[in-house]
């Protein structure tokens, strides 16, 4: 802080203090959840501030992780997230690329069909019957395919592809490239930012998806992680169904509070880890290195 007047220094210090306070304000909810999840269930029910865990205990994590259904549900979610992201991103890109070309015959019609799904859908039961008749019930396909292409993502990518100059493709064509070569070797490499963005959207969607399990899966070995956690949380907090007041909570050794906190950690941390890896793609400009001048 060389060359700053006294007033500026004071302002800077105040600024820092304010920013740090703001930081604490933002981080505290996460901290609270983390500490709550590590607290002893019987002591944590008193509530209050959690700067450190009250009576350290990992029982909540043990309860979640030890359950045999946890590993299988984590496996399901990993497979559907990875496969769904690959399939979803790829087909979103191909769909969007085709639609972005004005020389596509009936392009308006196809774009309308895609748009239509944003506004209307067949409804729950018809969808269910469709998936059933396609023979996908109780299979991972039912978790992956119905959500692979989202109309919104298609339009985002479409407008991105429209921004890629036609001259670039014409140049490639003159060099003897066909449409597929152009798509794979010119367009896709130029589209990393949008691929990363849409890929992340899709990945987060698959990671958070629990409703597909409810619709299409009967076999508990194939439940998605979020469906498993949701069931676990409700099982511990819905103390009473029948009136006798014992039936459900007696199953668990832990309190709904710590279970809920631990579930939030387990459900969010893995997908949070993905963000830093994709960050550089968001930041990068779109056209660097392709066309200059």
């Amino acid at each position: 802080m060389v060359g700053l007047s006294k007033g500026e220094k004071i302002f800077n210090y105040c600024n820092y203090v304010f920013m740090v306070l703001l930081l604490i304000l933002m981080l505290y909810p996460f901290w609270y959840i983390l500490m709550g999840s590590l607290s002893d269930s019987k002591l944590a029910v008193g509530g209050g501030l959690f700067l450190i865990p009250v009576g350290f205990s990992v029982d909540a994590y043990t309860a979640i992780l030890q359950n045999s259904a946890f590993l299988s549900s984590l496996g399901t979610t990993l497979i559907t997230t990875i496969a769904g992201t690959a399939i979803g991103t790829f087909f979103t890109a191909t769909t969007a690329y085709a639609l972005s070309k004005s020389r596509l015959r009936g392009g308006v019609f196809f774009a309308f069909i895609v748009l239509f799904t944003m506004l209307f859908n067949g409804g729950l039961v018809p969808n269910y019957l469709l998936i059933k008749e396609l023979g996908m019930m109780n299979s991972l396909w039912a978790l992956i395919l119905p959500n692979a292409i989202n109309a919104f993502n298609v339009f985002v990518m479409m407008s991105f592809f429209r921004g890629i100059p036609n001259e670039l493709e014409e140049a490639a064509k003159i060099d003897g490239a066909n449409d597929l070569t152009i798509f794979f070797r010119i367009v896709l490499p130029l589209s990393k930012p949008v691929l990363a963005t849409i890929g992340l959207f899709i990945a987060v969607f698959y990671w958070n998806d629990f409703f597909s399990t409810i619709l299409y899966i009967n076999d508990k070995d194939m439940w998605q992680l979020q469906a498993y956690l949701r069931n676990l949380i409700e099982n511990t907090s819905m103390a009473i169904r029948g009136g006798s007041g014992t039936a459900v909570t007696a199953q668990m050794n832990v309190s709904p509070f710590t279970i809920r906190m631990a579930s939030i950690i387990i459900a969010t941390v893995p997908i949070l880890i993905v963000y830093p890896f994709l960050q550089k793609h968001f930041a990068k400009g779109a056209m660097i290195g392709s066309i200059k001048g």
């Binding site: 019987k42 029910v45 030890q66 359950n67 045999s68 259904a69 299988s72 497979i79 990875i82 496969a83 690959a86 399939i87 790829f90 729950l124 039961v125 269910y128 019957l129 059933k132 023979g135 109780n138 299979s139 991972l140 396909w141 794979f184 070797r185 490499p189 629990f210 409703f211 399990t213 409810i214 619709l215 076999d219 508990k220 070995d221 194939m222 439940w223 469906a227 949701r230 069931n231 409700e234 099982n235 907090s237 819905m238 103390a239 009473i240 169904r241 029948g242 009136g243 006798s244 007041g245 014992t246 039936a247 459900v248 909570t249 007696a250 199953q251 668990m252 050794n253 309190s255 509070f257």
Partner: protein
């Protein structure tokens, strides 16, 4: 670089497809039905699919094999049990609806709750099977366990039974509880009348019953439901949420009875004094109340009998924080007229079992449910093998050798609410708790006789107008208790009731009451002919 990108994409795809394919084939084979397509009670292998909601929902657990083996021995043919675990409470109805939308995806046995409208549709569509003949031939455990009244509420006036209750509560599940140690500290007797009760609550609030020198105790707490104040309402012989049978034989909504006004006025005063825990107005979740109770600052509460099982989680949480604290259950408080009663549960049950059209051998399927309802098999699938997993000492006290986690791993409880037995087969209740349940059965009878439990699933007026009326009632009543509204607001509510559709509800309910009386006669004749001889 570009080549490797293409290669990467291709590799990922191949990987993905191969993984997904292998899983698909695995899924399909497990979804296949057993070879039971041959029709009537066969001898070949049997696969029976059950929708399940209770317990830990552990897949492929020990309990599944144990049940399959038990059924195999019982039916003398190979039986596999296909567990279909329903998702969480908020999603399970969606799942049930979807499964029932198509015959090929229906389970053999459907467990459901609360879905009166859908149930009616299923019956009308003919997708549920009439269980009467199968109950007669194979359902002895079921018809011996459930009493006449239980079956009445599931009986179709056409003389058929399309569902049986999955779980019916004990007749009286709740009790007035009071801190014994606080009574002793203050030298007070157990209250029996409403005046004594109020005095005790005041003392609990103001006389520092826990002796810590702080004014941090409340007389009474509970959840944001009227039953939290059952010791007051019931002493005056009124339940504001039920239809009450009047002395002249007509039916009146409990909220409208003049006694309600008296109770609200009393509660308003107590709230103002600070005797009532203000959190009663905000406690929306059961869990909040359990936490408040565990913190040990509440003198009296209307709560579950099952609390008194020493192993219950509530009891453990309370004891952990208040090693010297002790709650006791007391008899219901007597009102000004000497009337007293505990809250009776309905005999309807809260969840049900139906056999769907997908079951190709309905008789055998009923046999399966019946076997699960037998005391031996019930104990096996709920508590495990006696001697191995639990012991019963000479006083009849059950002691599990396993931790909760271990029991969950075995899947004990997966088959909850498939005819949940509340008698001696429910080992978890200590003999004292069983006695208390029996006592609450008796002490809840006075009100049981005054309340009209509606059987009909077809109540258009109630469906249309009840929400508005109850919203106004809740605003008014809780407003009065909290002191935000004067007691005269109650009179306004009563005046508005009729205009809000209350007149139509009253008319409908009175009609249903006389109809239900007739139906009860018909049912009794039917029961004597179709069930009684087969017990």
């Amino acid at each position: 670089m570009k080549k490797s990108l293409g290669l990467l994409i291709v590799t990922v795809f191949m990987l993905v497809f191969s993984v997904a394919c292998s899983n698909e084939s695995g899924g399909e084979s497990s979804g296949e039905k057993g070879n039971n397509a041959t029709g009537e009670a066969g001898t070949g292998p049997l696969n029976v699919s059950l929708t399940l909601m209770g317990g830990p929902k552990t897949p492929d657990a020990w309990v599944n094999e144990a049940l399959a083996k038990d059924l195999t021995d019982h039916l003398d043919r190979d039986v596999t049990v296909e567990d279909i675990f329903l998702p969480s409470w908020s999603d399970a109805k969606t799942k049930i609806n979807l499964m029932m939308s198509d015959k090929s995806s229906m389970p053999d046995v459907l467990w459901f709750w609360d879905m009166n409208k859908e149930y009616k549709q299923w019956v009308d569509a003919g997708v549920l099977q009439d269980l009467t003949p199968y109950l007669q031939s194979k359902g002895q455990n079921i018809i011996n366990y459930y009493n006449r009244e239980n079956l009445f509420y599931s009986w179709d006036p056409s003389g058929k039974i399309y569902r049986i209750p999955g779980d019916v509560s004990e007749p009286g599940t709740m009790t007035t509880m009071i801190r014994k140690d606080w009574l002793d500290n203050l030298g007070l007797d157990v209250p029996t009348t409403i005046d004594e009760y109020v005095d005790v609550l005041r003392a609990f609030t103001f006389d520092d019953p826990d002796g810590n020198g702080k004014d941090d105790t409340y007389g009474i707490s509970g959840e944001n439901l009227y039953r939290a104040f059952a010791p007051f309402f019931y002493a005056y012989g009124v339940d504001v949420e039920q239809f009450m049978i009047q002395d002249d034989g007509t039916i009146k909504y409990g909220s409208l009875m003049p006694e309600t006004r008296e109770v609200l006025e009393l509660l308003q005063g107590l709230y103002k004094e600070g005797v009532i825990d203000p959190r009663v107005l905000t406690n929306t979740e059961q869990q909040d109340v359990d936490d408040i109770m565990a913190n040990g600052k509440i003198g009296s509460i209307y709560r579950w009998v099952a609390f008194f099982n020493p192993e219950s989680t509530y009891n453990l949480a309370f004891k952990e924080k208040n090693p010297d604290g002790e709650y006791i259950a007391i008899d219901p408080i007597k009102g000004p007229s000497g009337f007293s009663s505990d809250v009776p549960s309905d005999a309807i049950g809260w969840s049900f079992l139906s056999v769907t059209g997908a079951a190709e051998e309905p008789e055998t399927v009923v046999d399966v449910i019946d076997r699960m309802a037998s005391p031996e098999t019930y104990r096996l699938i709920t508590f495990g093998q006696e001697g191995e997993l639990y012991t019963i000492d000479e006083n009849g006290v059950y002691d599990s050798k396993l931790s909760v986690d271990e029991r969950n791993k075995l899947g004990l409880g997966n088959y909850n609410w498939y005819v949940q037995r509340k008698d001696e087969a429910n080992l978890e209740n200590t003999p004292e708790v069983n006695e208390l349940f029996a006592a609450r059965d008796k002490s809840s009878r006075p009100m049981r006789e005054k309340i009209f439990f509606v059987k009909s699933l077809n109540r258009p007026m109630w469906t249309e107008y009840a929400t508005d009326i109850n919203t106004l009632r809740d605003e008014t009543f809780w407003g009065i208790i909290s002191g935000n509204l004067p007691i005269t607001a109650y009179d306004d509510f009563v005046d508005q009731y009729g205009a809000l559709g209350g007149d139509k509800i009253d008319e409908e309910t009175n009609k249903l009451y006389s109809e239900q009386k007739n139906q009860w006669e018909e049912f009794n004749a039917w029961y004597d002919e179709n069930i009684e001889p087969y017990k």
